[in-house]
Amino acid sequence: MMRRKDGIVFRGVCGMIAMLGIAAVAFAQAQGGAVRGNTSINAAVGAQTSIAVGAGNKAQSNVGVVKGSAGGKTDINAVVGNQTTIAVGAGNKAQGNVGVAKNVGGNTQINAAVGNMTTIAAGAGNTAKTNVGVVKDRSNAKVTVGVGSVTNVVGGAGQKGCINIGTKGVDGCE
């Protein structure tokens, strides 16, 4: 009985370590204003899926995202094969971000490539937002974006559906 329990615990710990490893590879994200000096992100993800079910929740898929920087140069190279983000329930948010820089200081360069990207939010008062190669709050940046198929779907009363591809200082959702 003890041996069986130990085996289950061991498998659980192994699973958690594996999940953490996958998350570290898949989510190349720096946020919270703690980034100082030059920032360089090179992220390549084959397939990424985020699903949130329930009221007032958020499903977010981030690849190559920088939020807040104390200056310096910001370089982001983000490549994604397939990204799917789904949020189901009232007042929820589905957001897919590939190659996004927010509140960065110095020169910014973003190269983003996406094969298939799907963002879906279903429920009242919800938001589906797809960002690829986006620089927020700053227009002094070089952005190169290549996308294959991008689908943004939102269903329900009082909803917002926004796609920003290769934009600087422009956001249709805010």
Binding site: A128, K142, S149, V150, T151, V154, K160, G161, T167, G172
Partner: protein, 99 residues
């Protein structure tokens, strides 16, 4: 045995016939009703701007909501800045649906 072979042939034929429809919806992840809306918007685009123009900009479909919500698509948009650097965007298919 003969009936089994006939059943197999019918199955293969059915699968082959359904392939074009599957290929049409491939990549959009939309149900037939949603796909129908996209096709209508595409047809409207072809009618208004001509086939050549539509081919140049590839596929960009934005279907707004009938309700109070917003449906926004920004591709290669820049807010007027003093020293804005270049933006390059290549896109095959971009679909935004709010319903």
């Amino acid at each position: 045995m003969k009936y089994r072979k006939t059943g197999l042939v019918a199955f293969v034929l059915g699968a082959a016939l359904s392939m074009p429809a599957l290929a049409l919806n491939e990549g959009t992840h939309l149900q037939p009703r949603g796909q129908s809306k996209v096709n209508k918007a595409l047809a409207k685009g072809y009618l208004q701007s001509g086939a050549e123009s539509m081919q140049k900009q590839q596929t960009q479909v934005n279907i707004g909501s009938k309700r109070a919500g917003t449906c926004t698509m920004n591709v290669g948009a820049t807010q007027g800045g003093k020293d804005s650097k270049e933006t390059i965007v290549t896109a095959k298919e971009i679909i935004n649906v709010c319903k």
